[in-house]
């Protein structure tokens, strides 16, 4: 690449780079600094407290809960959303026409407000909803959906999967469309049909889509806020208490902004580390199928 091309590249990239500098890098540095203080966002004065905030966070029951709850959400959400999105994508891909229309239709939940969706789910699962009245009347089942520490996270994971499956399905559809027909023909000649073809050809050929979707889904789980905030408030017994709920509670309800920021820094390190692990696993799987 010659110098003038490089300059042109920098020029075109500069708006985003400057945007990132102002809205991501500076706040990140500022937040890292704040994590070592006892500032409460309001007081004009504050003190440098060293690593005290980090030590406190390390021994905090609610921070520990946020750490484990996130992995619990990961374990539920990632398989459901990846499986659901793949299923939707196969469905859309197999349609003879109106693929675009159905893709948009399945994408729509992604645009729905988290608060509105949570209120709707709350209504559906409320004690006197038609659904629960039917369950009680027909099967004698009286289920406390959001009061159970097993069901509440599952419901939030399902709700998030409903919201994101259509979006991720678009990425899978793009992946399916890009698989060359002659790969399938070659596989058929080798005797791969039905589920075998799907398992040994389609899935490995979708590696780039799997990679993107999984990493996006993993990252998403470290930033959940609205759904548990509206539906459960982090309960019952901290079973839906996420990183963002803890940060919000500390920084804005208890005015411990310095401590809240320390938790945010820990959250970003955990997020970065977890994504790195998932990347490595996915890359290993990709390499096994010829993706370098």
């Amino acid at each position: 690449m010659d110098k003038s091309n490089a300059r042109l590249g920098w020029l075109f990239a500069s708006p985003y780079l400057i945007y990132s500098l102002i809205f991501f890098l500076f706040p990140l540095l500022w937040a890292t600094y704040l994590a070592f203080t006892n500032w409460n966002l309001i007081a004009p004065d504050y003190e440098f407290v060293g690593i005290q905030n980090f030590i406190e966070a390390f021994f905090s029951e609610s921070v520990r809960a946020a750490f484990f709850v996130t992995y619990k959400f990961l374990g539920m959400f990632v398989p459901i959303v990846v499986g659901g999105a793949l299923l939707l994508a196969m469905l859309i891909h197999s349609l003879p026409k109106f693929k675009g229309l159905f893709s948009v239709a399945f994408f729509l939940p992604y645009l729905a407000s988290g608060v509105a969706s949570a209120i709707v789910v709350n209504g559906i699962l409320s004690h006197n909803s038609p659904f629960n009245i039917w369950l009680r009347g027909t099967f004698g089942l009286d289920i406390d959906w959001l009061g159970s520490s097993i069901l509440a996270p599952l419901i939030i994971a399902l709700m998030m999967a409903w919201k994101f499956a259509g979006y991720y399905a678009l990425l899978f559809v793009a992946g399916l469309e890009s698989i060359p027909k002659d790969v399938y023909e070659a596989a058929e000649m080798d005797g791969a049909v039905g589920i075998k073809k799907f398992w040994h050809v389609t899935i490995p050929m979708l590696y780039p889509s799997f990679y993107t979707v999984t990493i996006l889904a993993v990252g998403l789980m470290f930033g959940i806020f609205t759904e548990p905030y509206v539906l459960t408030g982090g309960g019952p017994d901290l079973s839906t208490h996420t990183w963002q709920l803890e940060i919000y509670s500390q920084a804005f309800e208890r005015l411990n902004a310095g401590y809240g920021t320390a938790i945010a820094v820990i959250n970003s390190i955990v997020t970065f580390g977890s994504i790195l692990v998932f990347r490595k696993i996915l890359e290993k799987w990709g390499a096994k199928h010829g993706w370098e």
């Binding site: 500069s14 409460n40 409320s126 609205t226 005015l255």
Partner: protein, 435 residues
Amino acid sequence: MKKFRLVLLLITVGFLAAGCQSGSGNGGGSDGEVEFEFWAAPNPAQEAFWEEMAEKYMEEEDNVSINVTPMPESPSSEAGIQSAIAAGNAPAISENISRGFAAQLAESSGIVPLNEFEGYDELIETREMEETMSSWQFTDDQQFVLPAYSNPMLFSWRTDILEDLGFDEAPRTFEEVVEVGETLKEEEPDKYLWARADLVKPNWSARWFDFFMLYNAASDGNNFVEANELVADEEAGIETFELFSEMAEGDMLLTREATDPFESGDTVMMDTGPWTFSYWDDKFPEMEQGETYELTMPPVPEDSDIENPKTFADTKGLSIYASATEEQQQAAFDFINWVYSNSENDLEWFEQTNLPPARDDLATNEAFTEFLDENPELQPYADNIPNAVPPIDSEQTAEIQELIGTEGLNPVVQGDKDAEQAWEDVMNAIDGVLE
């Protein structure tokens, strides 16, 4: 190369300028004009009221310019205010400030004491709010909030269901509440006494509408925390937890989310604020005071004064921010002084929002008589303003109330602790926070 650098520099400057532009419009004007920002509660009725007041005031005062905007909710109005203070974009004045949040702001010098403004004493006298303000006084004898409205929280009772159960009137004591609950479960096992999902949730603000309604009644309005010291009434606290425990044991509490359970007759009692009535007018016109429901102050333990019980005051008010200039602060105070010096403005507020103005004379002032006659369901709220206790004024309000939930109310309702153990655990945990 020079051209490239120039273009890059221009883009950088453009972005920085756009990013750093202040949108507050909170500065002083020219030619002696004072301009300030007023943040109204994010509620169309309240916003419309303050916009109208600002317009009228600006017609009289040429040198004042007030910009009324709804306060940001991201995700709560408190968080929006904190972010604005941190970013240097706080308004000169805002409403929607609770006593607990004011304590946090005052501790950090984010707001200024109102009693130091010229004209403060006249304002309190003109608006007839000496008694109300006495319960709002902070432990350092300062007044950081001017309460705009005060909702004494009441309980609604389904009198039609009570009659079917053989009760002529709503229960007034804890014992009578349990008796109603027991009869209800015998006659209608699928129904509940009270539906409140928050009873098993740790949300600190939910404690205002369950624990504090009953604790204030049981303790005759005894403070919970004073000057960062725990002064809670032990007997009242245990009695309150015992009531919850008995209701939980008798399966009288529905702690799951439910849609309009009181209105549909699935429950018999409900904590009720005046905002409920416009909803009932729209969706449940069959809810008629005296026919289907009755409003009462919270029940009290046996041997307590049932004639004049206390309750929690859902009350919020106006605060002036320290970040504003002195001219803006005084202009903001003069504006609220002007608004509240005329009871007609309070009447207009009451009509538009249904929220009772925080005045001692609301039930007796003739300015409000006609409106209260037309809206009899609001009369008990007006009558009980002096019996309503505002939230605790500790900067640790959120932590204290969260502990009341997690260490006390939540486990009691879930049957994991008895009342005495729960009270002891709550006290120990709060002591740890206040140390």
